[in-house]
């Protein structure tokens, strides 16, 4: 019988298109929206190889050009693509925006550019740095007796240090990308959409909330048994919606979630429990009509999302610095932080702290809902 009730409830919830959209569809739209926004942002901030033309007196490479070509952004990506050209060709290329600038090297490099931009600034910075270091080394080599060939080698080594400032600071496989927090807040928001499911279950089981609730209360089935079946059905679908989002983020948008799959699933499960329990509590504890209670619930969910950094990531840091207890009482913040821990930290301390608080909140929300709903007679219907 219990399975029959569970199955019918699943069917019933599956056909509630509004609730299905908010749990399955909306987070996907939000993820795509964030992805498009942040992808462009990251693109704007990334550095590509800069095309530069070099004009030398003899038309061949010299130490400066070799040094320039040696500078790397990442292991497989060079900072400059240097082409040896004649002065006329270089000018034409600059005119046609084929290069960021050209360098005429006689006794020292002189940079020629058309407009000032990021690429031109980088080239200028490199040239200035080269001249400055060359001057320093020349002064040193003039003051002491040193082999010129060795001095040139040392100079190249010194300049090679330049790339350290530019190489991506990636450590191992962890990319310190703050935009990930936005995607983690979407997962937290999806967990918090469990409030809709919990809310709906409470409305449907209480005689003073719905006609269906009254009919159910008259039936010879223990209310808690029926509620358990219904909540399990709600959890099943809600958890599926979270897994669906995780799969979409990880497999389609390539958002990194870390390697600890078990912990990720556990975090989502606790997040789902917490969301459902919060919805149930608001439904039974707030004494006003269903629409107002629904609106209150939306404010709580969206407010929680905001405080966890969904709209402005700095809010999360500000809360953590100035009012950390708010973060501990906000399930969205706990879930976001748990995902952050799962990705960035190897240890479990902070993760378990978040999960523990999530459990505490779930128990409190669930207990309030239980004590309100366990009554079997109503003062008014």
């Amino acid at each position: 019988m219990a399975f029959q009730l569970y199955k019918t409830r699943i069917k019933c919830l599956c056909r509630n298109y509004e609730i299905i959209f908010w749990s399955f569809g909306f987070p996907l739209f939000l993820a795509i929206f964030f992805y498009m926004g942040f992808n462009n942002l990251a693109k704007g901030e990334s550095i590509d190889t800069i095309p530069v033309a070099a004009v030398t007196e003899d038309g061949g490479e010299n130490e400066f050009i070799r040094t320039m070509e040696a500078v790397q952004i990442t292991k497989d990506k060079r900072l400059f693509k240097v082409e040896l050209k004649t002065l006329d060709d270089a000018r034409a290329m600059l005119q046609n925006d084929k290069i960021a600038g050209y360098i005429v090297y006689s006794d020292k490099p002189v940079l020629h550019i058309k407009n000032m931009g990021i690429e031109q600034s980088i080239v200028k910075s490199f040239v200035d740095s080269y001249l400055s270091r060359k001057g320093t080394i020349n002064n040193i080599s003039n003051s002491i007796d040193i082999n010129q060939e060795e001095a040139n080698k040392d100079f190249t080594d010194v300049l090679a240090g330049y790339k350290d400032y530019l190489v991506d600071g990636r450590a191992g496989d962890k990319n310190p990308d703050y935009t990930l927090i936005y995607f983690y807040t979407i997962i937290a928001l999806t967990c918090m959409f469990g409030t809709n499911w919990g809310f709906r279950e409470m409305v449907d089981i209480q005689a003073n909330q719905s006609a269906v609730g009254a009919r159910i209360n008259i039936s010879p089935v223990h209310k808690m048994k029926l509620l358990s079946c219904n909540l399990l059905a709600a959890f099943t679908l809600h958890y599926l919606s979270i897994l669906f989002l995780l799969a979409f983020l990880n497999k389609v948008l390539r958002i990194e979630l870390g390697q600890r799959t078990g912990m990720i699933l556990l975090t989502c499960m606790l997040g789902s429990f917490c969301g459902i329990a919060l919805g149930a509590m608001v439904c039974v504890a707030v004494k006003t009509n269903v629409k107002v209670r629904g609106a209150i619930l939306n404010v709580i969910v969206m407010g929680g999302g905001f405080l966890s950094g969904m709209m402005i990531v700095d809010v999360k840091y500000m809360i953590a610095a100035k009012a950390p207890f708010v973060g501990y009482l906000n399930p969205s913040s706990l879930i976001t932080d748990a995902f952050y821990c799962l990705y960035y930290y190897d240890g479990y301390n902070r993760l378990f702290e978040n999960l523990f608080m999530l459990c505490i909140l779930t128990v409190v929300f669930g207990a309030v809902a239980y004590f309100e709903i366990r009554r079997r007679e109503y003062a008014s219907i």
């Binding site: 019988m1 029959q4 009730l5 019918t8 069917k11 019933c12 919830l13 599956c14 056909r15 509630n16 449907d204 005689a207 719905s210 006609a211 269906v212 009254a214 009919r215 159910i216 209360n217 008259i218 039936s219 010879p220 089935v221 223990h222 029926l226 079997r376 007679e377 109503y378 003062a379 008014s380 219907i381």
Partner: protein, 310 residues
Amino acid sequence: MIVEVKNLVKRYDKLLALDHLNLAVKKGEIFGLLGPNGSGKTTAINCILSLLKYDKGSIEIFGKPMRPDAYDIKKNIGIIMQNVAVFEELTVYENISYFCSLYVKDKKEVKQLTEEAIVFVSLQDFTKFLPKKLSGGLLRRLNIACGIAHKPGLIILDEPTIAVDPQSRNKILERIKKLNENGATVIYTSHYMEEVEQLCSRISIIDKGKVIATGTKDELKNMISLGEKITVEAYNLKEEQLDEMMRISNIAQVDYSDNLLEIKSKKGKNNLIHILDYLQSHDINFGKIFTEMPTLNDVFLEITGKELRD
């Protein structure tokens, strides 16, 4: 007695919703609870079903005290609410099957009972329809099917025909009669006196949370002093003729407007003959004549001084 309610008192803060209400429903009858809106019918039903807390009194169903956890009693009760109580997301078949499965454990039996209920309310052509696709009448029939699919011994119908067209209403009433013929005891609440008169074997009239009269419809009508009501299509009547008619024995009230003479007579026989004699003897032209016996509305009017539908 199938249902016995004694001295039931229910307050909503300062409002006394049920004032020492007493009801006794016998096995196999269709018991009507008649009263205007707000008289306490639904509150009484909700108390009987242990949905509402009450302040005082006792309720017994099938000879046992009714409590919220009296599952053995609940198992044998079917309820058809005033508001349609079905899941919007489930089809007609799924709804009936779901509510039936709350009462019956055996899957095959649920299937059989569901199919029987569908046939009973003539929803065979709509089994795969969602409730929002059904008309008001069909929706009410679905509501009934959900309440009676498990074949309960006691069926409580709380104003099941509200906002239903006359054709669907007649079908619903026919089915309730059939349920009763099949052995179910029925409690039927309504503020439509015609329905209650047509359907119920015994009736309690309720006002301000109190039972003001109980009996069969004839017993109730005998409680009042009014007899038949005679309506005559008559022309050019004068004031003094109306006064003379008032002086005829057994006449209680005479009204005349729009060429319609309406005479309410006291209990007694041959009132119509006396009126016709008078009209003929005074050469008064008259056309159609209607007579009707007092209604439950007249009973309610005489006892409470107000119309049933006030």
